[in-house]
């Protein structure tokens, strides 16, 4: 994308005041998004984005400047602006840039840009037809198709030069069902770093049917109970909970700022001994996978919990250097317009030994959670909250009436320590995680889990 001599010149300019290292991140991204609403293509948008960011660091201080102009003047201006954050006056060296190759974690078999837009529209029409076919109570269907191809170049003053392509694809179905005055919604949206071959394994019609069934099922719901009770979290959903409640406080920036409940607790039991947890950016075509992170560190599989014992934190270059550990390849950024920060990739609780049906059968009374609408955590206190988008009562070991308006609230360590059953049925879920104003595509996964006691917020008795 850019000439190596120019990049070296920009890096040298960025190191005019020294610092630990300088880095250039250049990005080109083309994207297509199509929205089908009321069986009508409402919007078909194509975008062409490009830009570059220059970062200079000293300890955990950084200066960052970006521009979406890629000419020499603009890049040198960015280098000068970024280096203004530093106080030194001795220029630092730039090692000769040499390319590093990755394993090709996110190869696309059939690139989305080779598929005519009309075919993409046809997938959305299928979403609409299938969802409406599920029930006459389906009143609204929105289908969203998205693909993008991001090409990134990362070069740094230590000589790294990485050029990687990341293809993304996603089909989302949003369904509204109505019965009298009761309106409920259902959602499904599998995603991957892959080409359109992903849609053979995850056909749009299945996505549509899932979303529609969720919406229609929830029409029968009653207000959720409130108070402490056992909660069985279905496979897939537990990963979202793990990501939010546990993953965020394990990000080294929170730890470094003394804003993490897990600070100083590596080697201690901080979760039930049934919990093995990992963050793994090496899963082929995973929504949160890559060859190199956005600082040019190789992707890794990082063990977070082994039998409930905390193994370590997720690191970027700055925090790893400060803590004297290896980077874990978790420095990510939304785009050239954002400095890298510590992020999760694909965060999973590993499957256990139990039959998931037996986990439910052995629960006398509680709530069964099949869909979580996302959540939020305060890493410093570990307090978290999740909206339940699809939930049911458990009565005498059986999943019975659907409940609405529920959420789960608790503290990370207490809740993870009270997991008393882990199923064998692993499932994944893909989302976009927000932190410090940046969105990052993340995967999460889990088997069925039972939390012995957790607060359910609801309006019912």
């Amino acid at each position: 994308m850019l000439d190596r001599a120019l990049v070296a010149e920009v890096l040298a300019a960025a190191r005019r005041k020294g610092g630990d290292f300088a880095e250039v991140f250049v990005e080109e991204r083309s994207s297509t998004s199509i929205r089908l609403d009321d069986a009508t293509v409402e919007e078909l948008t194509t975008g062409a984005d490009r830009g570059a960011g220059v970062r200079v660091t000293q300890g955990t201080t950084y200066g960052y400047a970006y521009s979406n102009r890629l000419d020499r003047d603009a890049l040198l201006e960015a280098a000068a602006a970024a280096s203004a954050a530093l106080r030194g006056d001795a220029p630092g060296p730039v090692v000769d840039l040499s390319e590093r190759l990755g394993p090709g974690t996110n190869r696309a078999e059939r690139a989305a840009d080779t598929v005519p837009a009309a075919d993409k529209v046809a997938w959305l029409r299928e979403v609409d037809e299938v969802a409406r076919g599920v029930s006459a109570e389906v009143v609204q269907v929105t289908g969203i198709y998205f693909d993008s191809l991001q090409r990134r170049l990362i070069a740094a003053s230590d000589g790294r030069w990485i050029d990687e392509e990341r293809p993304r694809i996603r089909v989302v179905a949003q369904v509204v069902a109505k019965r009298g005055d009761v309106i409920q919604t259902g959602w499904d949206g599998p995603a991957a770093c892959a080409g359109v071959e992903f849609l053979e394994a995850h056909p749009p019609r299945v996505t549509a049917e899932r979303a529609a069934r969720r919406a229609v099922t929830m029409l029968d719901s009653i207000p959720a109970p409130a108070g402490e009770m056992p909660v069985v979290v279905a496979n897939g959903c537990g990963g979202v909970l793990f990501h939010e409640a546990v993953g965020h406080p394990l990000e080294a920036d929170a730890v470094d700022k003394e804003a993490s409940v897990y600070r100083g607790r590596v080697g201690e039991r901080c979760a039930s001994e049934l919990i093995d947890g990992v963050d793994d950016a090496t899963i082929p075509n995973g929504w949160g996978s890559y060859d190199f992170d956005d600082e040019g560190e190789p992707a890794r599989r990082t063990e977070l919990f082994r039998e409930g014992v905390l193994q370590g934190f997720l690191q970027d270059r700055l925090r790893a250097a400060k803590m004297g550990v290896e980077p874990t390849g978790n420095g990510r950024r939304e785009s050239y317009a954002h400095p890298p920060i510590v992020r999760m990739t694909n965060t999973n609780i590993q499957p256990g030994p139990e039959d998931p049906d037996e986990v439910i059968r052995s629960t006398a009374r509680g709530v069964y959670v099949r869909g979580l609408g996302g959540g939020q955590v305060n890493p410093a206190t570990g307090d978290f909250v999740f909206g339940v988008s699809e939930g049911y009562l458990i009565e005498n070991g059986e999943v019975t009436t659907p409940v609405r308006g529920a959420n789960l609230i608790g503290r990370a360590i207490e809740v993870m320590s009270s997991v008393d059953a882990v199923g064998s049925d692993f499932e994944t879920w893909e989302g976009v995680c927000g932190k410090d104003g940046q969105g990052a595509p993340v995967g999460s996964g889990s088997p069925t889990l039972r939390i012995a006691r957790i607060t359910v917020g609801g309006t019912g008795a």
């Binding site: 919007e43 194509t46 521009s67 609204q140 009761v182 409920q184 804003a259 609230i409």
Partner: protein, 447 residues
């Protein structure tokens, strides 16, 4: 780089016979400086410019955008938008608005702010952090202490004759504190946004972030109960996004709004008035015209509890018929997105009552200071919600014992009906604003 006006006019010049073309361009320069432990933690300088083009041909709409285009790439963007339009369904309501003059708002651009030097921004961030950690022995560190500002320019032109531009400055300070007592840590957040760096007073932000963290030390989990609740402006503002979605005419037309059939009805209590006003100068969302170039205006959505109508752009106004006009609420998240209905300065109108009066009326209840999970815990269509909350128990007319790990649940209509008092302390957060609000009763879940 071409000048913005030249860029949009050049794109519009690439229109072919029988089609409408609208070009929107924005340029944004922003700086953010954060400080930690007496040092600069991070400093980010941003510069971006981009173009977004709508083409409407035979009632079919296509959109395309490009970052920092040359004039040739701007014309290429028009071609891509045209190709995209060919795949869309025709919709008789698609169409660009005829131009309408909007009064300029020179007050939203402060030359003095745009002229502040980077060194001075660094000093402000360092001062902010140093001051924050000097206020209370239990607050010796911050999670974030940031000062930022933005200078933005917008230009828009169309084949119907729209040709307009404006410039705006914004500045903000943001603090998240950590209060520590023994093994316990609590966090406190505060934020302010003003028209310019030269008008930014950050000391109250630091003081408030310190107070909000310290007040939470020793927090306990309350028992489940139905109690009166006072939402402070931080907590109340969290619900405005759900209201904005339900008052968006696009959602109404598509059957996705809980308010769809309620125009003219007394949905809320008689003390509840909700307004969108793009010309209110003390609101961060002030702008002379919207994302289609139509003048910003004032729309009273609820007056004394009665729902008057919805927020419209040109498309939703045409599709609604009955003489509905755009309320000047076409918005976009920058050049990358086509315009859709959005809010400008969206706020609950201030009432006559002091916070102390509201607390007295909520005896035995809870002052909610923070809610979390609204984006996932609220159903914008049914209006049901259940969100995490922290706050203080109201005892003897004052806020005291801190409470955590609780949820509040209700429905939006019930909450609006239950508004028993509105404070005079209206405050804006980004482009939404609200005073403190007393709700007669809500379900609070804890132990």
């Amino acid at each position: 780089m071409p000048e913005l006006g030249e860029l949009v006019r050049s794109a519009v010049g690439a229109a072919e016979a029988g089609e409408q073309v609208e070009a929107y361009a924005d340029e944004d320069r922003r700086t953010e400086v954060s400080a930690l432990r007496g040092e600069i933690e991070g400093m980010t300088f941003a510069g971006s410019v981009g173009l977004g083009v709508r083409v409407i041909r035979d009632g079919r709409l296509g959109y395309a955008w490009a970052a920092d285009p040359t004039l040739e790439e701007a014309r290429e963007t028009v071609r891509r938008a045209r190709d995209n339009a060919a795949l869309a369904e025709p919709d008789e309501h698609n169409g660009l608005p005829e131009p309408e003059a909007s009064a300029p708002m020179p007050e939203i651009f402060r030359e003095q702010s745009a002229a502040v030097r980077a060194d001075d921004k660094v000093r402000m961030a360092l001062d902010l952090e140093r001051y924050t950690v000097s206020r209370d022995p239990r607050v010796t560190k911050v999670d974030l202490a940031q000062v930022g500002d933005a200078v933005s320019h917008v230009a828009i032109a169309s084949t119907t004759g729209v040709d307009a531009a404006y410039a705006r400055t914004d500045a903000w300070a943001l603090v998240v504190t950590l209060a520590v007592d023994g093994d316990e840590t609590q966090t406190g957040f505060s934020y302010t946004i003003t028209r310019g760096l030269d008008a930014l007073t950050w000391e109250p932000v630091a003081d408030e972030a310190v107070d909000r963290a310290v007040a939470m030390l020793g927090a306990a989990k309350p028992a489940t109960a139905k109690v009166p609740v006072v939402l402070d402006p931080f907590a109340a503002s969290s619900f405005l996004g759900v209201l904005a979605g339900a008052l968006n005419a696009e959602n109404v037309l598509k059957g996705r709004s809980l308010f769809a059939e309620m125009v003219g009805q007394a949905v809320g209590s008689s003390v509840f008035t909700l307004v969108d006003d793009g010309r209110r100068l003390d609101g961060p969302g002030a702008c002379p015209f919207d994302a289609e170039g139509l003048p910003s205006g004032r729309t009273e959505l609820f007056t004394a509890g009665t729902l008057n109508g919805f927020l419209h752009d040109t498309y939703t106004a045409r599709r609604s018929g009955r003489g509905q006009r755009s309320t000047g609420n076409a918005k976009r998240g920058g050049y990358r997105s086509a315009p859709g209905v959005g809010t400008s300065n969206f706020f609950v109108d201030a009432g006559p009552r002091s916070l102390d009066e509201l607390l007295t009326d909520a005896e035995g209840g809870v002052l909610i200071r923070d809610v979390s999970g609204v984006h996932s815990g609220a159903n914008p269509i049914s209006g049901e919600f259940s969100v995490g909350a922290t706050g203080l128990r109201i005892d003897g007319g004052a806020a005291g014992e801190p409470l955590r790990e609780m949820t509040i649940a209700s429905t939006i209509p019930e909450m609006l009906k239950g508004v028993a008092g509105v404070g005079s302390d209206l405050r804006f957060f980004s482009s939404v604003g609200t005073p403190s609000i007393l709700i007669g009763e809500m379900t609070l879940a804890g132990v």
